[in-house]
Symmetry: C2
Subunit: 248 residues, 2 copies
């Protein structure tokens, strides 16, 4: 999906790559037709800002392709990432007028947007959108709580290992594989973005990546391309409980 496409085509919902996971996943054919009427596509280049915290935001959207981040900043410039949005993830809050966070495209990004007002009306009338949104929000809350454990209690090394594991898992799920054994993928984030995710400085990120490489937990081809020789080892380094769970 190239950037230009966004202006020239109107993707059919039935053929949408995120159809089965997005906020519209539960919709019936007739509901989909309603969504089809109010949706439009917007694209952003890597690095572009989608919205600034406090901006009026008159749409909500699903990420179709690419990656976006939600970040919060303090007056002195300290910034913390509070959301990492991958394809099918939802942006914006029904019932809120302004953006609560900075939304930034970290790769080229395509979003499926709905004007807020019609979307809210649709949520009132049909239950399936609201049901799916609740489910997705609960999942996000769980992810946020996992993230809080990482931020509050993990060491720098564990934080890096955790982030690599998270990305590995998401990549595997995209490829419909189970995360285990040897895995190969790309890091979609700069060292600075990783630092903002993990509550570290970019120097510490760099050092710990080097350390994990030295210790054979990860292998690097270039700066971004990663090989995990042993996913379980990575999980151990992340401080995650990787024994048990599969017997229940």
């Amino acid at each position: 999906m190239s950037i230009q496409d966004a202006h020239s085509i109107s993707l059919q919902c039935g053929a949408c790559p995120i159809r089965h996971r997005a906020v519209c996943a539960r919709c019936e054919t007739d509901e989909l037709a309603l969504l089809e009427e109010i949706k439009y596509y917007r694209s952003f280049e890597a690095g572009q800002t989608v919205a600034w915290a406090g901006d009026k935001m008159d749409f909500v959207a699903s990420v179709v392709s690419g990656i976006a981040t939600l970040t919060q900043t303090m007056e002195d410039g300290r910034t913390q990432m509070v959301g990492l949005l991958l394809p099918s993830d939802f942006v914006g809050r029904p019932g809120r007028e302004t953006a609560a966070y900075n939304v930034t495209a970290t790769t080229d990004l395509l979003m499926c947007c709905f004007r807020k007002r019609p979307f809210e009306e649709m949520m009132m009338r049909t239950p399936h959108v609201a049901q799916r949104l609740l489910e997705m929000t609960l999942d996000e809350l769980d992810a946020a709580r996992e993230w809080m454990l990482l931020l509050g209690r993990k060491t720098a090394r564990e934080k890096i290992a955790s982030l690599v594991a998270i990305i590995a898992r998401r990549d595997a799920s995209l490829k419909l594989r189970s995360p285990q054994g040897r895995m190969v993928f790309d890091l979609p984030l700069t060292r600075e973005a990783m630092a903002d995710y993990l509550g570290l400085t970019l120097e510490t990120v760099s050092r710990q990546i080097s350390a994990l490489k030295r210790d054979g937990v990860i292998e690097l081809q270039g700066k971004r391309h990663v090989t995990i020789p042993d996913f379980d080892l990575l999980l151990t380094e992340a401080g995650d409980d990787n024994d048990g769970g599969y017997l229940t």
Copy 2:
């Protein structure tokens, strides 16, 4: 509301102190009647565990009075609080069989419980419960993201000031006041619980409380009773943006 009451009386929803803020806030009279049928009260003493992570949990609940915490722990014992539940807050996730976190009563606690199955059925049939739950979950997600900024980027001093401000705000909202000027209230958490909230050690919590006291940002009567001479000063210490916002 004493502990004994939980076993002897069945509070009428119409007279419930959290009626206007809880998951049932939007319910009509007839929906309330349905809830009334499936609800029951449970009480816990301060310190008791409501559920362990991984336990089967066959109910969801609203906190009626008292305070509970959600915590996550790593194998080596490091623990991070990921939720602080005050009256009207909701516990449990529809559609999930087991508890995802440790739920602990930090004060005497009264909960209004619904067996999961009937509650889920009710969510399917009537929209008002699901709508309110979505709203509450979105609010919690916002709070979690604010919390992430705190954990990832704030100094120990800022963390303490932030926590005191959060508690002050909630206490004010309970008393239907706006948070400003001079404020007096109790800290409902031990130093250790604060440390788990903030991702610090209890020694650091203690030291920073002493420092804020020394600097006149807070005053203490005993260990728990706090006076804030100037709420704006506290917000400044918390690193929060306290100018602007009230003009929009």
